[in-house]
């Protein structure tokens, strides 16, 4: 066992990424574990402090309350990486490409022909009752028919050791800059633990992103003339670091609403040499704030007339307006059916079992099994309004069920979801902490998956909450490239067990589980 740091390592109810149930090291982690054995606790502390300093100096921080005292914190970075073998990654990658392709076809359909609604793949009230459905997009087809150009899909490894999809993020998913920065820091402070054949590099992301943005430009613009910009809400947005990071890495202007003007259904930016045309806008501003003429009139972040320029085909907006309908929590329930309907394939990455209250028999099931389920509002995030059945009082359950009956469209329910842990250093040694996985998927003329992901980890013992806003941290994510010699029978996905023991032991530990976003 490496360096004594694992002396008190105790596995939780779910599977562990590094260790088998019997405590042996899984194949993907073997080369890493051999190298980590040269570290002891003091060495770990030294490396961690170097990593923290590098992140602080690079300004990869968020501000705690007012800047008056200038208290800045880094997002906690944990040095033990998530490691995924090449074979398992190939499966995840194929599953993600399948899912994003199907969701893009679904978006094109709900805003145009609406075959999937006529054929009852997704109930009409689920689509038209969603606040994210944008009337301004009806009858409009964006270049190449792509809506979700940049997607981040949240996965967890469940009791059965399979990756399952927890949630799709198709509007303005953030976090990819941390993937790139975490790798930069990891290579700098812990070069000695990387495997001999290396891991899949991540630096390609910005050039892939730019190439994709150029692919979806308005068809009448040549690639050489095409000007791409990133639209940010500004320096006080919590993801501003990422916006400026991507602008810098791609070498494109980072603009705010005030920098853009529209004239004759075209978009221009205000420069020292006069007005310059803009053709592709990678916006990190929500739909509602994009164009005060089309949406919220009080928006200071948007550009008046942008929607008209977009619909006239003179500018491409990524992700498309109205994409939120496809990552709605109720629509999520129907994604496996969407994949079967549009691609005629079985989903490679399963959903978490989900019951939608809008479907009468499922509402009945929720009512009968409320004690065993997690019941969630469909369009709230951050764990707000979530009912954890096993821990809730009778009154609270009755209250939630009444709210559900009043507005079935707004409620879903899922069984309590157990997920895997990764060793994470705390105080004196390594402890098992739950972690999720958010890969990033780009779609232009074709679909590409970044061979890494954002791994977010719950830092509190026993916690299921990985959100950075609630005390979560992050890890580097390694996709191995040259591990074919590994015995396939040893990979986690193929040593699936029923996991019923694990599930029953875990049911008392949950807080606001799987609150992601």
């Amino acid at each position: 066992m490496p360096g004594g740091m694992f002396e008190r390592y105790e596995q939780l109810a779910g599977p562990d990424e590094m260790f088998d149930r019997d405590g042996s090291i899984r194949p993907a982690y073997r080369a890493f574990a051999e190298r980590l054995a040269h570290w002891d606790v003091a060495e770990y502390h030294l490396r961690q402090s170097r990593a923290d300093l590098a992140l602080l100096n690079a300004g990869i921080t968020f501000t705690v309350y007012s800047d008056e005292q200038g208290t800045e914190r880094i997002f906690p970075f944990s040095l033990i990486p998530r490691i995924i073998g090449s074979r398992e990654w190939a499966h995840v990658e194929a599953g993600l490409i399948q899912r994003v392709r199907a969701l893009n076809l679904f978006l094109l359909d709900v805003y145009n022909e609406q075959r999937s609604i006529r054929d009852h793949v997704v109930p009409a009230d689920v689509v038209f009752g969603a606040p994210e459905y944008s009337l301004r997009m009806v009858g409009f087809e964006p270049p190449l028919g792509v809506y979700a150009h940049i997607a981040g899909v949240d996965l967890v490894r469940d009791q059965n050791e399979r990756f399952v999809v927890l949630e799709d993020n198709l509007r303005t998913p953030s976090g990819v800059s941390y993937v790139l920065e975490n790798r930069t820091v990891m290579v700098r402070v812990a070069p000695d633990v990387f495997p001999p054949h290396g891991v899949a590099p991540v630096n390609d992301y910005p050039s892939r992103l730019l190439a994709m943005l150029l692919e979806v430009r308005p068809p009448h613009v040549t690639e050489a003339d095409c000007r791409v910009v990133i639209l940010t809400p500004g320096i006080y947005n919590s993801a501003y670091f990422e916006h400026s990071f991507l602008a810098q890495q791609m070498g494109v202007p980072l603009v705010e609403g005030v920098d853009l003007v529209t004239h004759n259904e075209r978009v221009y930016l205000r420069s020292t040499s006069g007005l310059e045309p803009v053709h592709v806008i990678y916006r990190r501003v929500d739909d509602a704030f994009l164009d005060p003429l089309a949406f919220r009139a009080d928006s200071m972040l948007g550009v008046s007339g942008l929607m008209s320029a977009y619909r006239a085909g003179n500018v491409t907006v990524t992700n498309a307006v109205g994409t939120g309908i496809a990552d709605d929590k109720v629509v999520y329930r129907f994604v496996p059916d969407i994949i079967r309907y549009f691609l005629n394939e079985e989903p490679l990455l399963p959903n978490v079992e989900t019951f939608a209250a809008t479907v009468p028999e499922e509402r009945e099931f929720i009512r009968r099994h409320a004690r065993e389920l997690v019941i969630k509002p469909a369009n709230a995030s951050g764990g707000y309004g979530v009912l954890i059945g096993p821990q809730a009082s009778d009154d609270r359950i009755q209250e939630t069920l009444a709210a559900m009956d009043a507005e079935p469209r707004q409620w879903i329910a899922q069984p309590l979801q157990e997920f895997s842990t990764i060793p994470t250093f705390q105080d004196d040694g390594l402890h098992a902490r739950r972690a999720d996985l958010r890969p990033y998927i780009l779609t232009g003329a074709s679909t590409w998956v970044l061979p890494s992901a954002l791994t977010r980890v719950a830092l509190r013992a026993g916690s299921y909450v990985v959100n950075s806003s609630q005390g979560g941290g992050s890890k580097d994510t390694w996709v191995l490239t040259d591990d074919d010699e590994l015995d396939e029978a040893d990979t986690p996905s193929s040593t699936a067990t029923t996991g019923t023991d694990a599930a029953s032991r875990s049911s008392s530990q949950s807080s606001s589980q799987s609150a992601t976003g």
């Binding site: 100096n57 800045e72 920098d259």
Partner: protein, 321 residues
């Protein structure tokens, strides 16, 4: 192609960094001067007052001292959060600007500015004996930023705006440093040219990083006229008003190569005339006007140029597409 908003931010980044460096240098020099000349004339606070006046914070310091008579002038100049012209406040603004400018400056430049900001922010106080080292390290850090900027950032329009800001601020600060002598009244008129007078002019040379340049230039014994002449009209000293305005004119010309003439011509005219005036002026005539009055006029002309840049270029509304 450069966003007007970004051009303006780069201009202000240059200004703020140059300002912070100048204040650090003035404190650095005056720390010594205040101790030594205190021995000569017996009233230490004078130099601090002059210094605070030079940063434009005289009134707010008087107010702060009324609230708290024990308020340290050194702390007020370096770390005070309630003084918008303390080094910490200026560096804080530079860092906020640098944050919006991340895509336009290199990682090296950003990290140096950010590290300086973080180190100043961590400090709660500065004692007298730390002042010299602290200001020295601030100065070095900002000079490092300038060096990194030169060697890691693209030679494009943005660099010229950054330099415009740097040189207009340097002109302004040099004139303010020179003007501190106006606030340092000698006990009697008889002492003009005496040891204290010479000492004070020497401190001004050091505040402007001009001591060695003055010596090398073979300009003879230190006197008010000789020091002021070098800091205002030297064509080869890189902090003199004349040198800086010439540089401002050159960088402005580069930066606005593609700017439509109606937007460009206003500030261009103001800078050109100031450049011509500085070349034609000499110290004898400036002193005939009165050095303080001459410096006052110079400062208002810089304000006019700054206003023209903002109105005509950075915030101009486009006339047509």
């Amino acid at each position: 192609m450069m966003l007007s908003r970004i051009a303006e931010s780069l201009y202000w980044l240059g200004r703020q960094l140059e300002r912070a460096e100048n204040v650090a240098r003035m404190v650095h020099v005056d720390y010594h001067a205040s101790i030594e000349s205190g021995a000569l004339v017996g009233h230490v606070p004078r130099t601090w007052d002059a210094l605070i006046a030079a940063t434009g914070a005289g009134d707010s310091f008087a107010k702060a001292q009324a609230d708290d008579p024990g308020r340290s002038p050194a702390d007020f100049l370096v770390l005070a959060r309630d003084n918008p012209n303390s080094i910490r406040s200026i560096v804080g603004r530079a860092r906020e600007l640098a944050r919006t400018l991340r895509p336009h400056i290199s990682r090296e430049v950003w990290e140096e500015i950010n590290t300086l900001h973080l180190s100043l922010n961590r400090r709660t106080s500065v004692s007298e004996y730390e002042l010299y080292d602290l200001c020295g390290s601030i100065k070095r850090s900002i000079e490092t930023v300038f060096g990194l900027y030169d060697n890691t950032v693209l030679f494009d329009e943005g660099r010229d705006w950054f330099r415009c800001g740097l040189f207009i601020e340097r002109t302004d600060m040099t004139s303010r440093i020179l003007d501190t002598k106006y606030h340092l009244l000698l006990p009697t008129a008889l002492e003009v040219g005496g040891p204290l007078d010479r000492y004070q002019w020497g401190a001004i040379l050091r505040s402007a990083s001009a001591w060695e340049a003055f010596r090398k230039g073979g300009r003879g014994e230190i006197s008010g006229a000789r020091v002021a002449s070098m800091l205002l009209f030297s064509s080869d000293f890189p902090r003199s008003a004349r040198f800086c305005v010439r540089a401002l004119l050159r960088h402005f010309g580069n930066a606005t190569e593609l700017t439509p003439p109606p937007q460009r011509v206003g500030p261009q005219r103001l800078i050109t005339i100031l450049d011509l005036d500085l070349a034609a002026m000499d110290i004898r005539r400036a002193m005939a006007i009165g050095l303080h009055e001459y410096l006052d006029t110079l400062q208002s002309r810089l304000i006019e140029i700054d206003r023209a840049l903002a109105n005509d270029i950075f915030r101009a509304l486009p006339e047509s597409v």
